[in-house]
């Protein structure tokens, strides 16, 4: 490795570190941070032989916002809005992970109604997230139209969530001990309508997109991930389930009231991009099932436990794992008894999933790398935090 010398160095530190490998006839390609298929600001250094990838190395840090440090500077309550901005596509899950960890720390009992509302909005948000992934992934594969259809559907879920939370993307709807505000009177009705609509759309998506021969050619057998590798990298969520492991935090360590719902965990065994694709598309259905059950017997009652204006949990630490759209979200909070957290650790599933990319992309074509990257469903702000 060359010594860091800012005068003779070409490019930046990451490219300087990447340089020594390539020999005659190889090319180093800098994909991102501004690239159409790295979704946000992921940067990937690639060493290419023709179009074959010899080595891939993600470079992170372009949207690092120091969420964990901010947590230490703010009171517990003031930090909640940040959770909507870690993973903006599944903000509800992060809301839940943080408030849930605090509730566990302070031993707060969440009212029944709040628990059901939490489940409903989190699953609605999960559908929105998966739909956005679906459209964006097909854009990566060069199909321009599906994204318009999926955004049309996602819009409907956003409308419901807007009526509930007031915002369309970066929700901070959860509060310590419940939710901030009650749902509107027609919430259940709208949710059931949405579920019905979603179920009527899924067969069309299957016929038009999933069964398309070109799409299958681009996904099947691409980026095959063995369970062993997935475990070693700490992959979770649809990526792990696509490799045949039925691991879902909602089932394995149920939080909230998830143990009261009937739903299956879709798994596929081949571990390729198509399996990850199928898991997510199937999860659209399972989320519909959960929403249906949650809103059809929404209990009456208070929507939040009584928590004082200045929330001071007792000294100690607690953590809560939540199943996000991208995998296992974990928030670990440590309190020293003061009004601000002593330390908050956020475990983003995208980080582990992204680390898999180096492993999966090796030896594939550039086009396959794009397909693999898309199939991992990365949200870069979540990885950088």
């Amino acid at each position: 490795m060359p010594i860091f010398d800012p005068i003779t160095m070409r490019g930046d530190l990451s490219s300087a570190r990447f340089e020594p490998g390539p020999t005659e006839g190889k090319m180093v390609l800098n994909m991102g941070p501004q690239h159409p298929s790295t979704h946000g600001v992921l940067r990937i250094m690639l060493e290419l032989d023709g179009e074959y990838i010899l080595r891939a190395e993600p470079v992170l840090g372009y949207v690092h916002r120091m969420h964990e440090w901010i947590a230490e500077q703010k009171t517990y309550m003031q930090f909640i809005p940040n959770m909507g901005r870690v993973d903006y596509l599944h903000a509800m899950a992060w809301n839940w992970a943080y408030t849930g960890a605090l509730e566990r720390l302070a031993g707060i009992e969440v009212p029944e109604r709040a628990e059901y509302i939490r489940v409903a909005v989190t699953e609605l948000n999960r559908i929105g997230s998966h739909l956005l992934w679906w459209g964006a992934y097909l854009l990566d594969l060069g199909a321009f139209t599906p994204v318009m259809y999926s955004f049309d559907d996602r819009e409907q879920s956003l409308d419901i969530l807007q009526a509930v939370t007031g915002s369309r993307l970066t929700y901070s709807y959860f509060t310590i001990g419940g939710v901030f505000d009650d749902v509107p009177a027609d919430f259940s009705k709208r949710c059931l309508e949405f579920v019905k609509r979603m179920r009527s759309r899924l067969p069309m998506y299957r016929d038009l997109v999933t069964d398309n021969a070109i799409l299958r050619g681009r996904c099947e057998g691409i980026g095959e991930l063995s369970v062993d590798v997935a475990r070693r990298y700490g992959a979770t969520g649809p990526v792990l389930r696509g490799s045949g492991v039925a691991s879902d935090v909602r089932k394995s360590e149920p939080y909230g009231v998830y143990d009261r719902f009937e739903f299956r965990i879709p798994t596929y065994t081949e571990g390729d991009a198509m399996c990850r694709y199928r898991v997510r598309v199937d999860e659209l259905e399972t989320s519909c099932d959960i929403i249906e059950q949650a809103v059809s017997n929404l209990p009456e009652g208070p929507i939040a436990a009584k928590v004082g204006r200045s929330f001071r949990p007792p000294k100690g630490e607690a953590c809560l794992a939540v199943e996000g759209a991208r995998g296992k979200i974990l928030v670990h909070v440590r309190s020293d008894g003061g009004p601000k957290p002593y330390r908050v650790k956020l475990r983003a599933p995208g980080f582990s999933n992204m680390s898999l990319f180096c492993e999966l992309a090796r030896g594939t074509l550039l086009s396959d790398a794009v397909s693999i990257l898309g199939s991992l469903d990365l949200v870069i702000p979540e990885i950088d935090r």
Binding site: P36, E51, L141, G142, R218, L365
Partner: protein, 330 residues
């Protein structure tokens, strides 16, 4: 005055220049309409209205886009080869204009009779790949280079079945003159070569889409992989001319398809140039529809389709045609 005009028309060189200028205008006008059609069709496929506000139904939108492109600064990459970089778009566009010369618009109107029109089109459309190659190399950008490499391999792979399928039709008609081939077919759909030899028509259509770098075979500019492929570094009219050439190429392949396979200017009634234009636009709408429906194929798959499927099929088709024509006459 009239006499001077007639004298001019009697001179073949003057007629060539005049016809070239006319074709130039035709290309420009068609590109404007095609951009509008493309965006409108894309809109209908994608549940949105498409351009709506510039002119009636957004008809003037392509004009506004063209003005915008012309107003933009032309940037040459600092490390690029200036000469090659700017030669590329011109080289992309120049052969396209020539390709329009032997186009059989109407039987009553043949300004430049030539008996090798088909060969001329194939030869000049083959030049297009040189410009992509130069653009990729002259830009001195890795994405451009990869795009150019793809373009060359793709164009070589698809020219083979394209030529074979065209040859099958030429043998049927016994001529390489587009007017003769189109005239050889009748006015009714069952007299067209698309009906008599559907395999060649299918192969020609697939190859035409690949040759014009249109989705699902738009690999040289695959924007999700190579940002914009060979024209990544082009701005303003540099990009604009590539764009114009792409649309003009689409019109050419659609025109050749209409002449070779769909009877050219002949229709069940009112035969004339409008039938030719109608057929061209039907094929173009089909190509546009494909683009907004399918994902992009991968590079090795693209080459496999050509070498393992289209080329053998085209050879088989050609052999069949030779046997049938040899035994039964044309």
């Amino acid at each position: 005055m009239m006499n001077v005009f007639h004298l001019l028309l009697a001179n073949p060189a003057a007629r060539l220049v005049l016809w070239l200028l006319l074709m130039f205008a035709f290309i420009g006008f068609n590109a404007l309409i095609l951009v509008w059609v493309e965006r409108k069709v894309a809109g209908y496929v994608q549940l949105r209205p498409g351009p709506l506000h510039v002119g009636p139904q957004g008809l003037l939108q392509p004009l506004a886009d063209a003005v915008k492109l012309m107003g933009k600064q032309l940037v040459t990459p600092a490390a690029g080869d200036k000469l090659l970089f700017w030669a590329a778009p011109l080289l992309a566009f120049a052969p396209v204009t020539v390709c329009f010369l032997p186009m059989p618009f109407d039987a009553r109107f043949n300004p430049l009779p030539m008996n090798l029109g088909l060969v001329l089109i194939l030869a000049f459309s083959g030049l297009g790949v040189v410009s992509l190659c130069l653009a990729g190399w002259g830009s001195n950008s890795k994405f451009s280079l990869l795009g150019a490499a793809r373009a060359v391999a793709q164009s070589v792979a698809y020219e083979v079945p394209l030529l074979l399928s065209v040859m099958a039709v030429a043998i049927c008609a016994g001529s390489l003159d587009l007017y003769a081939i189109a005239g050889h077919q009748g006015a009714w759909p069952w007299q067209w070569y698309a009906m008599k030899n559907p395999l060649a028509f299918f192969i020609f259509l697939v190859c035409a889409v690949a040759e014009t770098n249109r989705a699902p075979f738009d690999l040289p500019e695959a924007e999700s992989e190579l940002t914009a492929g060979f024209h990544t570094e082009y701005s303003g009219m540099g990009f604009g001319i590539f764009f114009l050439a792409e649309y003009a190429n689409m019109v050419i392949v659609a025109g050749v398809a209409a002449a070779l396979f769909l009877g050219g200017w002949q229709g069940p009634f009112f035969s004339g140039v409008w039938w030719f234009l109608l057929k061209i636009y039907a094929i173009l709408v089909f190509i546009i529809w494909m683009r907004w429906t399918f994902p992009r194929v991968r590079f090795d798959q693209l080459l496999n389709i050509s070498w393992k499927w289209l080329t053998p099929l085209a050879l088989l088709d050609l052999a069949l045609v030779v046997v049938v024509v040899g035994h039964l006459g044309a």
